[in-house]
Point group: C2
Chain length 319, copies 2
């Protein structure tokens, strides 16, 4: 399936990755390993962000940064390597909220971000600073500099995303996912998309990671119009989500839990779609160009292989 | 000097202590050891409070609470016993502000406070909660539920208190100490003062710990009018402050660095003044009733002894 595309000609193109949390972070890290940093921008969902104990927490931004910096905790699957929990133990002893774990090392980022935001810096500028401190070379951009919270409407309440996702362990049925009506993106994101040759939509949750990004004006229109190729990678493999609530949300929406349904959901936005070898038999029903590869990213080598395959496919679509 | 006052008849009186940081915390802890908790209220300076890295930090409230709970760090002289610094190390690695040390255990209080304040609770209610969690029985009240920041005017800038005190190590000459014009106290403080038989002004800094409390309307008027006796304890011993910048501020104000000058500074507010045996020769020049005792509080026994002496003296003044 890989054609003649392993020549890495894509390196000269300018690439924007749209990413949520863990799946997005893995693909972004693979792409960062094969792309010159000056040609790579990663636009990250901030619809999960929330203010907790006085601090603005940006779970997806932090996951992407920790993965790009190689300081992510591979055992837990989230947070920092070598993390400790002294502060959370103290918060619990004070009867404070303990449903969202904040590690000691992780808190260093949240506190630094809080100070910089209070000083009047934008989330974009704060993210640039944190990336510099972590030695991250590609550009990481929040989808917006302003709160654009994703809300989950359940049978009994409308919950901020993290309350549904972490506190309720994404178990309440999501009747509706509410995205804010007037959220706006940033000048930096707009410039990156104007220059982009390729947009890669990471194997993140389409409904709660990618839709919030596309919902920030004018990202959806820019992605539709500007790049020479837009390619998404399926977060659904073998009838389930690789991680997280994507499959459950699809069932609750009445969708089949298949890569085809994901590709159809993105619709005209896509020029190409990458799905996993486990779903090879499904290929015929796609209404978009596809490439079928092993998309499992379990280590650095597989992240790089998937990145290479996805970029090579996208490059081929531009020819 | 102690007369017949060691009978602890003061236990039936209602006592309010006005306190700043370390000196106030020590005397408050001694008084808490000899008074029934239902008869003791400690009103604490919050003019030092500031928002740092998104968190409302209340240094004097925390010092008083940690001392009352017996979890204060006796080696450092501030903060918590058994403290660790994982978060500060991470903040430094992120290039965040590192001039104000926040320990991991300490941060548990700041984060819990931040959440409760963001939830709409008053600082009084938050302090009550933290005291309950720490097992503190006397009532600890902030002087105000609203920010009332003490500002230090130096030759070159007007600095928030902690920037002068910690960041600049209180070295810049304080040309003027600016207290807010319209700061108001709370209903809880007013009720405590209305019921108070004795008010004890701890050996805290008169200018930056006690004045900010008195400056919160209507505390000064209430202290002047309501209690049967008001007694201050000298923070100046042997020509210097026991701790902190009191002596330096006195010199910069053109005052003699003596207990007499402290008593004169408080003036008509006082019914009695306690000074240290090291300054015994100075007794004649006071224009207020005095008692001369060993005021050094180096351990639990001496804190209790000083508390007993001060309360007994105040009791005598009511007879």
């Amino acid at each position: 399936m890989s054609g003649n595309s392993n020549n890495q000609a894509y390196k000269d193109l300018r690439v924007v990755v749209l990413a949520g949390g863990v799946g997005g972070a893995k693909l972004a890290t693979g792409i960062a390993a094969v792309m010159p940093p000056e040609n790579l921008t990663i636009v990250v969902n901030t619809g999960d962000d929330f203010v907790h104990m006085g601090l603005t927490i940006c779970p997806d931004l932090d996951t992407v940064m920790y993965n790009l910096a190689g300081v992510n905790n591979t055992e837990m699957g989230w947070g920092r390597q070598g993390e400790s929990w002294r502060v959370m133990e103290s918060v619990k002893a004070y009867g404070g909220p303990d449903w969202f774990n904040l590690g000691d090392l992780d808190l260093g980022a949240h506190l630094t971000r809080a100070q910089m935001l209070n000083d009047g810096l934008s989330l974009t500028a704060v993210t640039q600073h944190l990336c510099q401190q972590l030695g991250i070379e590609p550009t990481v951009l929040p989808m917006s500099d302003h709160p654009a919270p994703t809300m989950i409407e359940t049978e009994t309440a409308v919950l901020p995303f993290q309350e549904w996702f972490v506190k309720e362990r994404w178990q309440p049925v999501a009747k509706n996912i509410q995205l804010p009506e007037n959220s706006k993106s940033t000048r930096d994101v707009a410039l990156a998309l104007q220059k982009a040759d390729l947009v890669i939509i990471a194997p993140s949750n389409p409904f709660v990671s990618i839709d919030p990004i596309l919902n920030c004006y004018p990202i959806q229109a820019n992605v539709m119009d500007l790049p020479r190729a837009v390619v998404a990678v399926s977060p659904i493999v073998g009838g389930d989500a690789v991680k997280g609530p994507a499959a459950k949300l699809m069932r609750e929406k009445g969708l089949d839990v298949t890569p085809v349904a994901i590709a159809d959901y993105y619709g005209d936005l896509l020029d190409g779609f990458v799905f996993d070898v486990q779903d090879k038999g499904l290929k015929g029903s796609f209404s978009v160009e596809t490439r079928c590869v092993d998309t499992m990213m379990v280590d650095e080598a597989s992240r790089i292989r998937v990145a290479n395959d996805v970029l090579a496919f996208a490059y081929d679509l531009t020819q």
